[in-house]
Amino acid sequence: MNIVTDATAIANPSSRRIAVDVAEVSLTFDTADGKVEALSDVSLQIAAGEFVSFIGPSGCGKTTMLRVIADLQQPTSGHLSVNGMTAEQARLARAYGYVFQAPALFPWRTIEANLKLPLQIMGYSESDQTILAKRYLELVNLTGFARKFPWQLSGGMQQRVSIARALSFDPALLLMDEPFGALDEIVRDHLNAQLLELWGKTNKTVLFVTHSIPEAVFLSTKIVVMSPRPGRIIDIIDCNFPRDRTLEIRETPEFMAIAQRVRTGLRAGHSYDE
């Protein structure tokens, strides 16, 4: 499936450049139970500055999709370009920040030291590390927690730290794998609003994997609906709420209509038949 992005779908007209181009990518795992087709002939183009959500039931390959783009997994066939480079080149060029399901903070490092870790690895100077750590801690509203250790923070705060860590080296692309999946609904709403604000401020391209239909509709400019066995794209829905949307838009008929279309897409994938 090939989607030509509608120019009006993008808030920022200067960002029509293609950030991620996935062309006929397939990935088959060899497991003890035989071959599992995690991705089957997936094609997708994502323009710079977009917020794209991947939604689908467990095992539909949405996480695998993200891992392939991040060069954490190699596709069996197909082509992939990230910011005009191959996935590996993009990884080596540190073109993206990755946020996992869990915060995966390093427990022996303070919050500040956790934020500095990627910067240390990338060879930033000591003073730059301090400035950037401070700036991104401020961005996720955690100033004052710099000296704390991860276990002293709540789950939601830890996940915010991990988002700040992914942003700290200013990658053009943010890959997020169910970052709020383990959090309760109230914290999740709060973080969704914050993430949207962050996206508005930083103008990054965001690829966001989720289980939650409201979350996907609320956050995205584009929703990719996937179905399992084999993992494939069954629908791509444009979703053009204004950038400064608030949680209230979830009550509007437009929001309901898109959510309904996502739900229909998921059902059409026969995802829950087995």
């Binding site: 993206y96 990755y98 399901q101 995966a104 390093f106 022996w108 990338m122 276990w151």
Partner: protein, 308 residues
């Protein structure tokens, strides 16, 4: 009046049991006291025939009380009574100048130096082996069987060979003992650190990959800190084994100094009290060494923000 006094004194009587010192030490004191009772009874029973034989040889009349008293202070008892061991130990520690050949401090120091050098060598070797095993599958397959084999041969059989071979190339004294000690102590460290270096979560390793960290950076920033709890657990095992290695190494050399030498001399001359005193010295040394590792662990833990 009396009933109210009883009612008042009752919670007070229970109060000492709540005292932190009582809470902390009552279990230990109870166990030690029970052990002492068992030990004394065993000493009486085991030394009884020895003492009775002594009386009968001299054809002296004796009472049961004299017999029991005799078992408590025999010169070469089968099982010395606790107070005899304590006396000999304290005498060995405080009774002589620290460099006198009869001083337990002198012998402990000799064994301690071999233990510490052996421990340092063993820790270095153990960590180096673990590193190479974690980083190379080939090395894992080729080294691991030998590492396990090395521990299947009893050290009592190996120690004399080591001493002879090392002696032939001119190594004597401290170093051969330390090498035997290291030979024993590297093993728990290798096993523990292989586990520790492989302990990072897949997510943390993936993160390092997304930052395209070098394998050296992955080691210093992720694998090494993750392995810290494993390191200290294996260091605690290794340091006691180092001590055992050093003592065992003193046996076949006919060493003149060291806890092992004291044990050997004691068994030559049937000086059971001396053997037990040397054993107590070894136990004290081992506890001290483990406490030191524990202290280091707590200090590192505090720096790494471990939850108290």
């Amino acid at each position: 009046m009396t009933s109210s006094a009883a009612a008042l004194s009752l919670p007070r009587a229970a109060a000492w049991r709540q005292h932190p010192l009582a809470v902390r030490f009552t279990p230990i004191v109870t166990v030690v006291a029970a052990l002492m009772v068992v030990w004394y009874i065993a000493a009486v029973l085991m030394n009884l025939s020895l003492v009775r034989g002594g009386f009968e040889r001299e054809e002296a009349p004796y009472t049961t009380m004299e017999l029991i008293a005799g078992t408590m202070e025999a010169e070469r008892p089968l099982l010395p009574a606790p107070h005899q061991v304590a006396g000999a130990f304290l005498d060995g520690v405080f009774g002589y100048a620290p460099n006198a050949p009869r001083s337990l401090i002198y012998h402990s120091a000799v064994t301690l130096s071999a233990t510490l050098l052996g421990f340092a060598l063993g820790a270095g070797l153990g960590i180096a082996l673990a590193l190479s095993i974690v980083h190379s599958r080939v090395l894992e397959r080729s080294l691991m069987p030998w590492i396990i084999c090395s521990q299947m041969v009893p050290i009592l059989a190996l120690a004399p060979i080591f001493i002879v071979v090392l002696g032939a190339i001119g190594l004597q004294g401290l170093l051969p003992k330390s090498i035997i000690s290291a030979y024993l102590s590297f093993f728990p460290i290798t096993i523990g650190m292989v586990k520790g270096f492989n302990a990072p979560e897949p997510m943390q390793l993936d993160l390092m990959r997304t930052w395209s960290a070098t394998s050296r950076q992955v080691l210093t920033r992720l694998r090494w800190p993750t392995a810290m709890p494993y390191l200290f657990a294996s260091l605690k095992v290794a340091i006691t084994i180092s001590l055992i290695g050093a003592i065992v190494a003193e046996l076949p050399t006919g060493a003149e100094a060291g806890i092992g030498a004291r044990l050997l001399a004691g068994s030559y001359y049937g000086q059971t009290v001396q053997i037990w005193a040397a054993l107590v010295a070894a136990a004290v040394l081992a506890s001290g060494l483990i406490a030191l590792v524990g202290l280091a662990e707590r200090m590192v833990g505090r720096r790494m923000g471990t939850r108290a």
